[in-house]
C-alpha cells in the first residue's frame, strides 16, 4: 500500500478540518476550561461528529458503521489534534469501539456498537493503576457471581471517566486477566474527576464490588488490552501529529511576522536552522503515522512495533516542537492569552498517555531482543 491517502481519506480530512476550525477551535477548549464546564466537552459538537459519521468510521457496516478503517479515523484525530478539540473520540471510538470489536461477543457488538455509532454511548477504559504506564500490572480483581461478576480496584487516569456511561475495566481472578463492563451508575462505582493540565477529561475511578459482566471470554484480557492499546497509541500519534503540525505552523507564521531589531525574527539563522530541523522531524512523523495507520487496516503483524515507533517519535517531536514554539514566541507565548501554551500543555499529557517516549524506546529494544 502506498504511503499516501486515498481520495476519500483526503476528502474526509479536509471536511474535518473545516468543521473543527469553525465549531471546535482552541478557543472552545479555553471556554470549557474557563467555564469549569461540568462535562469538559461539548455534547452538541459530539452529536454533530457522530452525525458526520466520525464515531462510526471503524465500526463494520453490519453493526451500523461505515467500515472506513483506522487510516480514516487517523485523519479525523489529526485534525482534532490541530484544534485541541476535547471530545470522546479517543475514549469511546479509539479505545471503546476497538475493545468491543477485539474482545466482545457477537451479542455485545450488536448491542453496543450501534449505540456508539449514534453518539449515544460513551465508553471509558479503566486500565491504568499507577502514574507510570504499566497496563499489564493489574491489582484490580473480580469475583464470579454466577452470570455476573463483581469488580474491585482503583483505577487512575481514566480518560472521560467522569462522563462515561460504561467502563471497561481490567482485572484479574485466579491468575486470569479479563476485561469487564461496568455501568457508570452501578453500585460501588465512585468517580473523582481530575482536572489535568491539558484541560481534557480524566478521572480516578474506584470499584468496590461493582457489578460487572465479562467483555467476551474470560482470560483474554491481556491480549485484547494490548491489541487495543497499540491501536490507541497509533491513533493518539495521529492526533499528536496534528498538534505538532499546528504548533509548528503557528511558530513559522510568528517567525515571519514578529519584528525585532527592525527585521522579522525569522531572518535569524539560529532560529532558521532549528526550524528546519523541526521540519525534518515532522516529515518523519507524518511517515510513521500513515505507515502505522495503514498497518492496522492491513492487519499487519508489525502493528505493535509500529505503535511504539509512532508513539515514541511523536512524543519526542511534539515535545521538541511545543518547547521551541514557546521559546520562539518569547514572552507573549508565556501568557495564558496566547493559545500556543495550550499546545505545550497538551503535549505533556499526550506524552504520558499510553506510554511515554522511554516506555516505547524500551519496548522497541525488547521487541528486537536487546
Amino acid at each position: 500500500m502506498a504511503l499516501v491517502l486515498t481520495e476519500e481519506q483526503s476528502m474526509l480530512k479536509s471536511s474535518a478540518r473545516e468543521y473543527l476550525k469553525e465549531n471546535a477551535p482552541v478557543a472552545a477548549l479555553r471556554k470549557l476550561r474557563d467555564d469549569k464546564d461540568e462535562k469538559g466537552y461539548d455534547p452538541t459538537v459530539w452529536k454533530a461528529m457522530a452525525e458526520m459519521g466520525w464515531a462510526s468510521l471503524t465500526i463494520p457496516e453490519s453493526y451500523g458503521g461505515l467500515d472506513f478503517g483506522y487510516t480514516g479515523l487517523g485523519q479525523i484525530l489529526e485534525e482534532t489534534g490541530r484544534t485541541l478539540t476535547a471530545s470522546p473520540l479517543v475514549s469511546t471510538v479509539l479505545l471503546g469501539t476497538t475493545l468491543i470489536k477485539q474482545g466482545g461477543t457477537e451479542a455485545q457488538k450488536a448491542a453496543l456498537l450501534p449505540e456508539i455509532a449514534e453518539g449515544n454511548l460513551l465508553i471509558a477504559l479503566a486500565a491504568e493503576e499507577t502514574s507510570a504506564h504499566k497496563p499489564t500490572k493489574i491489582a484490580a480483581t473480580y469475583t464470579s457471581l454466577g452470570k455476573t461478576h463483581a469488580v474491585s480496584g482503583k483505577k487512575v487516569f481514566v480518560l472521560d471517566g467522569h462522563v462515561a456511561d460504561k467502563f471497561i475495566v481490567s482485572a484479574t481472578r485466579d491468575g486470569k486477566t479479563s476485561l469487564l463492563i461496568v455501568n457508570a451508575d452501578a453500585k460501588g462505582v465512585s468517580v473523582e474527576r481530575t482536572i489535568m493540565m491539558d484541560s481534557r477529561n480524566a478521572a480516578n475511578v474506584t470499584f468496590d464490588n461493582a457489578e460487572a459482566i465479562l467483555l467476551g471470554e474470560e482470560g483474554n484480557g491481556i491480549a485484547v488490552l494490548e491489541a487495543t492499546l497499540d491501536i490507541a497509541r497509533i491513533g493518539l500519534a495521529a492526533e499528536m501529529l496534528g498538534t505538532t503540525c499546528e504548533a509548528f505552523d503557528r511558530t513559522i507564521a510568528y517567525l515571519k511576522e514578529r519584528q525585532q531589531f527592525g527585521v522579522p525574527i525569522g531572518v535569524f539563522q539560529g532560529l532558521q536552522h532549528r526550524a528546519a530541523h523541526m521540519y525534518c522531524e515532522i516529515e518523519n512523523c507524518k511517515s510513521v503515522v500513515i505507515a502505522a495507520l495503514q498497518a492496522i487496516d492491513k492487519g499487519s503483524k508489525k502493528v505493535p512495533m509500529l505503535a511504539s515507533l509512532a508513539k515514541a517519535k511523536l512524543g519526542k517531536t511534539l515535545q521538541l516542537v511545543s518547547n521551541e514554539a514557546i521559546q520562539m514566541f518569547g514572552g507573549i507565548g508565556m501568557t495564558d492569552d496566547e493559545e500556543i501554551g495550550f499546545f505545550l500543555k497538551r503535549a505533556r499529557v499526550a506524552q504520558q498517555t499510553f506510554g511515554d517516549y522511554n516506555y516505547h524506546l524500551d519496548r522497541y529494544a525488547k521487541m528486537n531482543n536487546y
Binding site: Q259, Q327, G330, G331, Q352
Partner: protein
C-alpha cells in the same frame, strides 16, 4: 569552630561571634524556614503587609541594626559593613537559615543604579526610603513589541518645562499592582538613534494616569502586570542621570538582573533529582527502574554538579581579581536551560500524576505549574538566544557582519 589557634580573635572573628549570637537570639524560629514563594517574603511599601507577627518583629529588629541592606553606606540607612563583614553576616544568616528581612527591587536593582548614577539629593531621599522598606519598587523596562530588542522602547516622556508628560505601556512589570514607585526607561528624544534617546525616570505609581493589569501565565496567576501611562506628569527632578543617557544605566542594571537569575537557579526545590526519581520510579536490580531515565537523570546531575563548580570557580576568580564580564550571559543561559531540563525530567518521572493541574493530591498542580513557569526562564531577563549572541560576540569575538 573555625578558629583553632591560640591567638586572640581578629576583629572579623569577633564580628562573626557577635553576629552569630545576635542572630540566634533575635531571629524568630518561623523566619528561619526556607521561603517557598514570594508570598512568604516581606516586601515593604507605603502600606506594609506582614503575614505574621514574627515577620514584623524580624524586620524591625534587623532595621534597627541597619541590616536590611547591610553593605550600603550608613548615611543611607545601610549597615556600612565591609565586604568581609557582609560576607560573614551572609554566612551566619545562611547557617541558621534566616530569611532576608526585606525583599525589594529597590534593594537588588534600583539601589545599585542610584548609588552609581544618581545625584546627592536623589541618593539621600530614595536610598533612605529603600533601606527603611518604605517604598515598594517595580521595574518598567519591557514593552509589548520590544522583547529582546529592549532599546526599541516607545514609551515617551515629553519635556513640558518643569515636568515630563509620559505616555505608553510597559509589560512584565512584576508587582506593579502592589508597587508605590516604578523605575522606568522612557524615550525622551524620538529623533535620536534608538539607544541615544532613552532616559531613566522614577515615577510615583499613585500619579494620575497610571494604571495596571495583572498578567495570567500558562502556569496560572503571576506577579507580572501590564502598566499603562496615560498623560502622566512626572517632575523633572525624578530623572536619574542625564537626559538621553538612560541606556547606560539600563545596561548596568541588566547585567545585575542576569546574574541574579543565573545565580538563583532553582530556589524552589532542594531535593536532589535522583531522590525525586527514586521516590517516583524506585529501584529494580539495584538501579533506577527506568534505565533510560536513569541515564538522563545522571547526565543532568553531572551537568548540574559541574556547573555549580563553575559558579564557585568564577567567584574564586573574581576574588582573585579577574572581572566577571560577559560571562554572566553564560550563567544566565546555562542555569535556565538546566532548570528547564530538570523539570522536563521531573514531569517524566512523575508520570500521569504529574499532569494534575488542580486538587489537593497534586498541591494544586505544583509540579506542572512550575514546569510551565520554567519555560520563561530562558526568555525573561534576556532570552537564551540573546545570551548566546553576547557570548559569541563579546567573549569569542565573532564578527557581526
Amino acid at each position: 569552630m573555625e578558629v583553632a589557634t591560640s591567638a586572640a580573635p581578629t576583629a572579623l572573628e569577633t564580628f562573626r561571634m557577635e553576629t552569630r549570637a545576635w542572630l540566634e537570639a533575635n531571629c524568630p524560629e518561623s523566619q528561619r524556614q526556607s521561603v517557598k514563594s514570594y508570598t512568604d517574603m516581606y516586601w515593604g511599601g507605603k502600606n506594609p503587609v506582614f503575614n505574621s507577627d514574627d515577620q514584623k518583629v524580624w524586620f524591625e529588629r534587623m532595621l534597627e541594626k541597619n541590616w536590611t541592606v547591610p553593605h550600603w553606606p550608613k548615611e543611607y540607612g545601610g549597615g556600612g559593613l565591609s565586604k568581609e563583614e557582609n560576607k560573614v553576616l551572609k554566612e551566619e544568616m545562611g547557617r541558621l537559615g534566616c530569611r532576608p528581612p526585606l525583599y525589594n527591587f529597590g534593594i537588588s536593582m534600583l539601589g545599585p543604579a542610584l548609588l552609581k548614577f544618581a545625584n546627592d539629593g536623589q541618593k539621600d531621599h530614595f536610598l533612605n526610603l529603600i533601606t527603611a522598606g518604605k517604598l515598594w519598587w517595580c521595574q518598567g523596562y519591557s514593552e509589548p513589541g520590544a522583547g529582546s530588542d529592549l532599546a526599541n522602547l516607545q514609551t515617551s516622556a515629553e519635556d513640558k518645562g518643569d515636568h515630563y508628560l509620559v505616555n505608553g505601556q510597559k509589560v512584565w512589570t512584576s508587582f506593579a499592582d502592589k508597587s508605590d514607585w516604578i523605575f522606568c526607561l522612557v524615550r525622551t528624544d524620538p529623533e535620536a538613534p534608538k539607544h541615544s534617546g532613552i532616559s531613566f525616570l522614577l515615577i510615583d505609581m499613585s500619579s494620575e494616569g497610571v494604571s495596571t493589569r495583572p498578567i495570567k501565565l500558562l502556569s496560572g496567576n503571576s506577579p507580572f502586570c501590564e502598566t499603562f501611562f496615560d498623560n502622566v506628569k512626572v517632575p523633572k527632578e525624578n530623572l536619574v542621570g542625564k537626559e538621553n543617557a538612560g541606556w547606560t544605566i539600563a545596561k548596568y542594571l541588566l547585567t545585575h538582573e542576569r546574574e541574579m537569575i543565573g545565580g538563583v537557579g532553582d530556589t524552589e526545590q532542594k531535593t536532589p533529582l535522583h531522590k525525586f526519581a527514586l521516590d517516583h520510579v524506585g529501584l529494580e536490580n539495584d538501579i533506577l527502574a527506568d534505565t533510560i531515565l536513569r541515564g538522563d537523570v545522571a547526565k543532568w546531575e553531572m551537568d548540574d554538579a559541574i556547573f555549580k563548580m563553575t559558579i564557585s570557580r568564577t567567584m574564586d576568580e573574581v576574588k582573585a581579581g579577574q572581572s566577571l564580564g560577559a560571562s554572566s550571559s553564560f550563567f544566565k543561559y546555562y542555569a535556565t536551560e538546566l532548570n528547564k531540563q530538570k523539570l522536563e525530567l521531573q514531569m517524566s518521572l512523575a508520570g500521569t500524576a504529574g499532569n494534575q493541574w488542580e486538587g489537593e493530591a497534586s498541591d494544586e498542580g505544583r509540579l506542572p505549574r512550575y514546569f510551565c513557569r520554567t519555560k520563561a526562564n530562558s526568555i525573561e531577563g534576556g532570552t537564551s538566544e540573546v545570551q548566546l549572541n553576547i557570548i559569541s560576540k563579546r567573549i569569542l569575538g565573532l564578527p557581526s557582519k
